[in-house]
Amino acid sequence: MPPAGEETGGMRPENLVWVFGTARTGSSWLSAIMGEIGGYSRWHEPLVGHLFGNLYYERAGHRSEDEHFILGARYREIWLGTVRRFVLDSATARFPEVAAKDGRYLIIKEPQGSMGAPLLMEALPESRMILLVRDPRDVVASNLDAHKKGTWTADLMRKGGKEKPPSLAESRPDAFVKGQARRYVRDVGNAKKAYEGHRGHKVLLRYEDLRADTLETMKRIYSALEMPVEEAELARSVEKNSWEKIPVEQKGDGKFHRKAKPGGWREDLTPEQAEIVEGVAGSLLRELYPVRSNA
């Protein structure tokens, strides 16, 4: 593929840093820390991975060998090239300050587009990638809380002019848990697949490590991705975005900032629900948390 800066007159793909995983893994926190450092900007959930990944992996996955299918295998190089231009043109239009200067980076927080991560990383092999993971039981517990009545997700919908419909989280919580565990497997599974296939700069990051020692973990990220950062500035951003700095009234059950407590699932899920998650996401759990899964 030609150098994107030349082909688009703008954004360079190596200056894109993708954050994949799934929702409720701390991606807002991570991208806030990174996005506030000088020279870095943040693209908050473009969902471009969902745009293409949904058709490719879910709705028409069975048609990959069909040469008429727009995302068919025979024309893969061509449509990946178009996806590449799609992303770079959109990034250039939104973040001209990143495109205009060398040495600037764009953090793309895309946990909910992780389904399409393998396609995006194949289309943009020069880009950098963070695979952000969290114990699936904590992820599911967080989602279970978020989708109950009167929580922050309802507020979000109300801001968009809609009322949140009744959720399975209230009426059939075990079914909700199973659905969320499947979503975890889909998102994190595809993000991991992209991570394994990506030959460029990349780093695997656990939410639990970020909570345990934020600054050190952040330093490891920049080092692995070979991106410049001043330690003092990084420390300031870590401090500014720390859990302790969030006002108490903005934290707790039903809020976006809930408890930030690894292992909190033990208090939040019933034993049966924990078993459901372990049954559905067991393979990823064992792989990503080889010790903790036995705890």
């Binding site: 471009v48 745009l51 040469e67 008429h68 727009i70 449509w79 178009t82 799609f86």
Partner: protein
């Protein structure tokens, strides 16, 4: 009119036969490697956007039949269900309206150009020798994205292909029952659908009536907004007078075509020319009889379809609905 023939990706009729297990393979064998073209630029090589004709509506409206006829004339070809419309289904992202969303309205000019490139790159790669010819894009299953596609390609022509929703639902019901062509085709997934068609036929009818409303409704809105060449084709008119309807369609689309070529295409793909053993209940070619829903659906099912699809039914089939008849 171009008089050459070029290698097609694969013929519509042949594809249908392959899908139904009546023929082995749907690929076209030895071909040149896909070519990357500059789709965003002026229509230099391959497919010109003004020569694309999009067929939107929903499944079981006769789009395969229409596409097969449209593929026949020299210099015409068919892109068979690319499903590009499914990628750009705005309803899928209704709650993501912010400026960061990839399809945010503030950046519409940027991403509409990307959609245009996405489609034209795909078309040119598949039909590199269609220089100056016409490409019909059979896309009923991608009708949810019809609005954005036609906005990205305002020079293209559009066919809104519709059929009485009661017949469409009756056709799906037959296709997904035990032994139906769709059930056989889908294997494991089909068996699940079959079970709904068999065990909860009323729920199945409700679901497909809603799908009709969503797909045809989206296509209808795209048709309304499209300022280029366009035409509404009713399946029932196509059945009643195929040649006359085809002539009207091409006339509205301003596509020059020799009547003799058209007549030949119509004749070749007529109902009468389909082998008897490929027609009938549970088969892809079922009845082709408008208003057969009167025999196929229960009164309750008819009422369900009429209630859900009322806006479209009233517009395109303005007769007294069954529920108001005696």
């Amino acid at each position: 009119m171009p008089v050459f023939r070029y290698p097609t990706v694969s013929g519509v009729a042949r594809r249908v036969r392959a899908v139904l297990g009546l023929e082995g393979d749907v690929t076209r064998g030895a071909l040149s490697e896909p070519t990357r073209t500059n789709a965003g630029g002026p229509s230099a090589v391959g497919v010109a956007p003004e020569n694309m004709i999009w067929i939107f509506g929903t499944g079981r409206t006769g789009s395969t039949w229409l596409a097969a006829m449209m593929e026949e004339p020299d210099g015409h070809d068919v892109w068979f269900e690319p499903r590009v419309g499914t990628v750009f289904d705005p309803q899928r992202f209704q709650r993501h309206g912010g400026k960061h969303f990839i399809l945010a309205s503030q950046y519409k000019d940027v991403w509409l150009r990307s959609i245009r490139n996405f489609i034209l790159d795909g078309a040119n790669a598949r039909f590199p020798e269609l220089d100056g010819g016409y490409l019909a894009v059979k896309e009923p299953g991608g009708s949810v994205g019809a609005g954005l596609i036609m906005e990205a390609l305002p020079e293209s022509g559009m066919v809104l292909l519709i059929r009485d929703p009661r017949d469409v639902v009756a056709s799906w019901l037959d296709a997904t029952r035990k032994g139906g062509w769709q059930t056989r085709r889908r294997g494991e997934g089909g068996r699940r659908a079959e079970s709904l068609a068999e065990t909860k036929p009323n729920a199945f009818v409700r679901r497909h009536a809603n799908a009709y409303l969503q797909h045809v409704g989206s296509a209808r809105r795209a048709y309304e907004a499209h300022e280029g060449r366009k035409v509404v084709v009713r399946y029932e008119d196509l059945r009643a007078d195929t040649l006359g309807t085809m002539k009207r369609m091409y006339g509205e689309l301003n596509v020059p075509l020799e009547v003799a070529q058209l007549a030949k295409a119509v004749e070749k793909h007529s109902w009468e020319n389909i082998p008897e053993e490929e027609k009938g209940q549970g088969k892809f070619y079922r009845k082709a009889t408008p208003e057969a829903w009167r025999e196929d659906l229960t009164r309750r099912q008819v009422k369900t379809v009429e209630r859900i699809t009322a806006p479209l039914l009233e517009e395109f089939y303005p007769t007294v609905p069954a529920e108001q008849q005696g």
